[in-house]
């Protein structure tokens, strides 16, 4: 019942409540009215019967006194006009019936054993009839009771009448209830209609998401307020939805952009390393479930750094883009190609029959890259080295496969570049060692493992230290000292030589400046490789180093080999001209091992010649070596160049060179290359000795 009520619409609810309340009120009013009417009726009848009794008693007094039954009878007969008195009796003092009356003739019969003295006059609730007894008194003064009169009142008619009245009242009540509920229904529409309209609007808004809908403000009460608040809310919602929409759009755009950045390389528009990682995992899964083989191909450009250094990064980037295009074109649609970074590309190929097919693809890639690239007016030639490994022939693990491809790629590089190699297990050990060293070397500078050692250069006559040759050492964290011959070629190959060279230059310049100040040291010579000449502006590097160390170029010497001197362009030498004019010396290292042509000695502003240690080592017994050394010393003297003998290890060599008139010497006989702090100590002892 209550449940059903709850489901009712609000209008019906109000109607039901109205009806209930009106019904209840009507019912209560009816019931109380009925009770009131019944009570009044009882009171009226009680009083009436009393009055009638008393009047009768009065009128029968004399009749009773004088025993006149007839007169009493006639008096009682006067009750005929009172319809509700069914019968009446008059008893004398002794309680004997004296006279009687019955409304319907012949029905009167006196109640047996009636004692009027104990007679109570009352109407019990709901009784259809009642009796009323009244004493008949004698007249004044004694007023003694001389008899009793009783009347019997029948209430049936009264009740019927009351019933009619109740019925009429009920009708009136129902009519009123109907009228009131009709009026209330009309009135409550002023509440329910705006509510219904508001509900309808809300439904439209929530169902269709149409935020342009607005509720009509039909009333100024709470419902009107509700509608107005609702409208505000819809405004707010609409506003929020718009901004949310905007924000979502922006977010999607950014997400797409981020995804693009995250998965694609911006330079080549190829997938990046991140994508590659996902792809290789998928390829491995394909193998795992479908036994689908795939080849992993690492492509490294052979001389990209040169292109970058020569034409600039802009051209380098353009080149990468064009290479990406060509790679894409030389592959099938299903093959995957990505740029791993720098000049490294990777290809995942599946769906092949044999290794021969892969070889064909690799060859095709090499061929397509060989054609010159035309970039902003430059003709650029490039080649690549390719390393290939195959899953599952070589491995079924992502990292192993990548390392194998990398190894194979390095193998290709070692075999002269511009070729492709399949991974071979036996070669990988050597290669891995190299990779290991390479990784360590790359970190050496930032770990301060690259240290400059100094080997004294002494005057042969007097054995006095006049200068140092700066020599680089790689001292690993475990204390192992690695000689330049072991890591400089690798540093040159991976381009780290520039940074190492700069480090040596700066360190030795600062150190030399201190020594010049304190001990009046003549010079420190620093080696420069051909790579340094090729890939950096040597002149500005030296200039910067000397300036920041406040070192006079006079106290600085540049040590280069004959081949560097020959290979270096006249441009780079010209740039060095200023420094040379300011007094910087140039020493030719390993003299006698390089070019046989001596013409360059005169055409370049050389200040010093260093006799190669291979000749010195053979002194003094080897006639040929002796002849060469004698010739070099003679040549230097005649050209007014200083001469230094390298690698003096024995007293015999020293004596021989002294005899030959060599000015300066350098070697383990005097001192091995030592750290700066020991070199300083040697200078201190030199000065104390000389002093």
């Amino acid at each position: 019942m209550l449940k059903r009520f709850r489901k009712l619409p609000i209008g019906k609810k109000l109607q039901a409540i109205n009806l209930l309340i009106i019904g209840l009120i009507t019912l209560l009013a009816m019931i109380s009215l009925c009770f009131y009417m019944y009570g009044t009726l009882r009171d009226d009848y009680r009083n009436d019967s009393k009055t009638i009794s008393s009047l009768l008693a009065e009128s029968v007094t004399s009749a009773l006194l004088f025993g006149d039954k007839k007169a009493a009878q006639e008096s009682l007969a006067g009750l005929r006009t009172v319809s509700y008195v069914t019968h009446a009796e008059l008893y004398d003092k002794a309680g004997n019936l004296f006279a009687g009356y019955a409304k319907t003739a012949g029905t009167f019969s006196a109640p047996a054993n009636f004692d009027p003295r104990g007679y109570q006059q009352d109407i019990r609730f709901g009784s259809m009839a009642f009796d009323s007894a009244f004493p008949v008194l004698s007249i004044a003064p004694n007023r003694e009771q001389i008899g009793t009169i009783t009347i019997h009142v029948d209430l049936t008619d009264a009740y019927v009448h009351l019933g009619y009245q109740t019925f009429a009242l009920l009708l009136i009540g129902l009519l009123c209830a109907a009228l009131v509920s009709a009026v209330l229904s009309k009135l409550q529409k002023s509440i329910t209609l705006p509510l219904l309209s508001l509900t309808e609007t809300m439904r439209k808004v929530s169902k269709d998401g149409d935020f342009s809908e607005r509720a009509i403000l039909s009333s100024q009460d709470e419902i009107g307020e509700l509608a107005s608040v609702f409208n505000q809310m819809v405004d707010e919602l609409s506003h929020r939805e718009n901004s949310l929409h905007q924000e979502l759009k922006e977010r999607r755009r950014i997400e797409a952009r981020l995804s693009q950045i995250a998965h694609f390389d911006t330079v080549t528009l190829l997938p990046n390393r991140h994508s590659f990682n996902g792809r290789i995992d998928r390829a491995l899964l394909n193998y795992k479930y479908d036994l689908e083989k795939f080849a992993l191909m690492y492509i490294d450009l052979d001389n990209f750094k040169y292109v970058n250094d020569t034409f600039g990064h802009h051209v380098g980037d353009l080149l990468l883009g064009r290479i990406a295009e060509r790679l894409r074109k030389s592959l099938r649609q299903e093959d995957f190609v990505a740029r791993l970074g720098g000049d490294e590309f990777v290809i995942i190929m599946s769906n092949f029959t044999d290794i021969l097919q892969i070889s064909e693809v690799a060859g095709k890639i090499l061929a397509t890259l060989q054609a010159p690239f035309s970039l902003e007016g430059h003709e650029v030639f490039i080649s690549a080295s390719i390393g290939i490994t195959i899953c599952p022939d070589n491995s079924e693990e992502s990292e192993t496969l990548q390392r194998q491809a990398d190894n194979a790629m390095y193998q290709a590089k070692h075999l002269g570049k511009n070729n492709f190699q399949f991974y071979q297990a036996e070669l990988s050990l050597v290669h891995e060692n190299r990779i290991n060293i390479e990784a360590q070397l790359r970190r050496s500078l930032e770990r301060n493992e690259i240290v400059v050692y100094y080997q004294p250069i002494v005057e042969i006559t007097g054995e006095r230290i006049i200068g140092f040759e700066a020599l680089v050492r790689w001292i690993k964290q475990d204390g192992t000292i690695i000689q330049p011959a072991e890591f400089i070629p690798l540093a040159e190959e991976i381009g780290l030589i520039i940074d190492i060279g700069r480090h040596v230059l700066n360190t030795s310049a600062v150190q030399t400046a201190a020594w010049v100040d304190r001990f009046g040291l003549a010079f420190t010579s620093v080696n420069f490789s051909s790579r340094q000449f090729q890939h950096s502006n040597i002149a500005s590097d030296i200039l910067n180093a000397l300036e920041s160390a406040h070192l006079n170029p006079v106290n600085f010497e540049m040590e280069i080999t004959e081949s560097v001197l020959m290979d270096s362009s006249s441009d780079s030498m010209n740039l060095l001209g200023q420094l040379i004019e300011q007094g910087m010396g140039i020493a030719i290292d390993d003299f006698g091992t390089g070019y046989s042509s001596l013409s360059y000695i005169t055409s370049f502003p050389i200040s010093k010649i260093k006799i190669d240690r291979s000749f010195v080592a053979k002194l003094p017994d080897d006639k040929n070596a002796l002849a060469v050394v004698t010739a070099i010393i003679g040549l230097a003297k005649s050209l007014n160049l200083k001469v230094v003998a390298e690698g003096i290890e024995t007293d015999e060599q020293f004596a021989c060179l002294a005899k030959l008139g060599c000015q300066y010497g350098q070697g383990y006989l005097f001192c091995p290359p030592v750290p700066a702090i020991e070199a300083t100590k040697m200078l201190e002892s030199r000065d104390t000795r000389s002093a």
Binding site: D44, N47, D48, T51, I52, L55, L56, E58, S59, T61, S62, A63, L65, F66, G67, D68, K69, K70, A71, E74, S75, G78, L79, R80, T81, V82, S138, I139, A140, P141, N142
Partner: protein
């Protein structure tokens, strides 16, 4: 209002009664009934003047009523103690309020009436062929019942106010 209207009707009906004496039961002792009647007549009659400390009921001549009046002596009428006296002359009777003329005195009833004149004495007697105008209430015995006639004119002349209720019960009022 309805009920009150009805009451009025009832009241009118009561007043319109024309009662007749119809006493069925003959009292064993007729004298006792007559004595009771005398007492009741006194109740329904008003005297213009009454003695201060007694109400006198007198019986003229020797009559059994005198003895029957014995219980009445204990009662009070008009708030006065009742005294019952046997009188022998009209002179004596003049100071009585109620005078019962016994059967033995019926012959001289005319003289008696004359002697009493207009004195306020309620004269009661049994019917016995005398001129009824000399007596105010005449008791009539018929078919074992006792009724009465009231000489209202004499009563008024003697300054006695007889209650209308008594008049209603009378067989004849003249």
């Amino acid at each position: 209002m309805r009920f009150n209207a009805r009451l009025v009707v009832l009241l009118l009906a009561c007043c319109a009664l024309r009662p007749a004496i119809a006493v069925d039961a003959i009292v064993a002792d007729e004298s006792a009934v007559e004595a009771a009647f005398l007492y009741n007549f006194a109740l329904f009659t008003e005297w213009s003047d009454l003695p201060a400390n007694e109400f006198r009921i007198c019986v003229l001549g020797s009559d059994p009523v005198l003895a029957a009046l014995e219980p009445v002596k204990k009662k009070r009428i008009k708030e006065r103690p009742v005294s019952v006296t046997n009188v022998s002359s009209a002179t004596q009777a003049q100071s009585c309020q109620v005078l019962f003329v016994g059967r033995s005195e019926h012959a001289s009833i005319g003289d008696l009436a004359r002697q009493i004149g207009n004195a306020p004495v309620l004269v009661v007697s049994e019917e016995n062929g005398y001129d009824p105008k000399n007596v105010i209430i005449v008791l009539i015995a018929q078919q074992g019942r006792i009724g009465f006639r009231i000489n209202h004119t004499s009563a008024q002349a003697n300054s006695l106010a007889v209650s209308s209720k008594l008049l209603k019960l009378a067989q004849q009022v003249y």
